[in-house]
């Protein structure tokens, strides 16, 4: 069902045009990479503050209030360019092991951020100036730093086709992780 939809999506004229374009695809990809500096960069600076190892005299609410809008702009650029890249080759990314890991960790990072905002951040004014924020905030910062590192690394590795369904034989667990069963059956 999903595969049929993604197969159709990848054959739409705009998807084909984007993938085969001389400059559009590299420009979208480069924007995606450069926006990392804005999105992950500002996120990481805030996380380091939450963990308590950098910017220790800068109030946490300065980060969540004044830097976060820039992080959001970065996130918007990442999302738009990321969706375009996915749209250029949906089926290939869908069956790419690194893409799958990236999406799962991306969701975990989102849940972590949401938990922080409804949790420790709610009474942030009480610990705004603490050089060592409360446990919940420190955990949120550490989880965020680790999760985004994994997202960046797996994101970069999506470019490599080592574990793609058309590269066989692979260990069973690799094929399972890449969801290659349908492809290998020939039903796809």
């Amino acid at each position: 069902m999903i595969e049929r939809f993604l197969g159709w999506l990848g054959e739409t004229p705009w998807s084909v045009a984007l993938l085969e374009s001389l400059y559009a695809w590299p420009l979208v990809e480069s924007t995606h990479v450069l926006a990392l500096g804005l999105f992950v960069g500002t996120t990481a600076m805030m996380d380091l503050r939450l963990v308590g190892i950098a910017f220790r005299k800068v109030p946490v609410t300065a980060f969540t209030g004044r830097l976060l809008p820039w992080t959001r702009i970065g996130f918007a650029i990442m999302t738009v360019t990321g969706l375009l890249l996915f749209y250029s080759q949906p089926l290939r990314y869908y069956h790419n092991v690194f893409f799958r890991v990236k999406v799962v960790v991306l969701i975990l990072a989102g849940i972590n951020a949401a938990v922080f905002h409804v949790g420790a951040h709610r009474n942030a004014l009480e610990w705004d100036h603490d050089t060592r924020p409360p446990r919940g905030a420190r955990i949120a910062g550490a989880v965020s730093l680790s999760a985004w590192a994994v997202v960046v690394i797996t994101g970069r590795l999506i470019a490599y086709n080592w574990f793609d369904c058309d590269i066989q034989p692979q260990p069973g667990w690799v094929n399972w992780l890449a969801g290659c069963a349908a492809v290998l059956d020939g039903t796809e």
């Binding site: 990479v33 996120t43 800068v58 590192a149 960046v152 590795l157």
Partner: protein, 160 residues
């Protein structure tokens, strides 16, 4: 003129080891990207403030002081991963325009950051909420522009 040197680079043990390994280049690239994120964050916190946006409730000097170890640390990561990446494909880099754009802009960006921006950002202001002078804004903008060129040209090495 420099081509023999680039050939020598590629022939080094590290260059050959990275070029012949399946995993080394991708892993180095991924860590290079982690460095890019940290570098971007460490630069932006200060540059945005110089531009009069971002963490405007904080004095520039304080932000610059806190960001400095992360700026230097990320540059160390960039260089230690970037050098072996270069060595593994030095001859290709020699004929790559983007590589030269990056390598010509990089020393300018480094010089500007540590000689000009450092001095401007560390100057203690009487008013911590100082909205930022014309000089501050210009320095922030030039810093961002220079590093943008370095990063964009760096990414484009792979496309050209």
């Amino acid at each position: 003129m420099l081509e023999p040197f680039f050939r020598w680079c590629e022939a080094t043990a590290i260059g050959q080891a990275v070029a012949q390994s399946v995993w080394a280049f991708p892993i180095l690239e991924a860590v290079h990207l982690i460095g890019l994120c940290m570098l971007g964050g460490a630069l932006l916190v200060v540059d945005l403030r110089l531009l009069g946006v971002g963490l405007t409730s904080q004095p520039v000097a304080r932000l610059a002081r806190y960001a400095r170890p992360w700026l230097i640390g990320s540059l160390v990561v960039m260089v230690t991963t970037g050098v072996p990446l270069f060595l593994s494909e030095a001859i290709r880099a020699y004929y790559n325009t983007s590589f030269w754009v990056k390598m010509c802009t990089l020393p300018v960006a480094l010089g500007f950051t540590f000689l000009v921006r450092e001095r401007v950002a560390r100057r203690e202001s009487a008013d911590p909420h100082d909205p930022g002078s014309v000089t501050d804004r210009a320095v922030g903008a030039v810093s961002l522009a220079l590093w943008f060129v370095v990063a964009a040209a760096g990414r484009w090495i792979g496309f050209s």
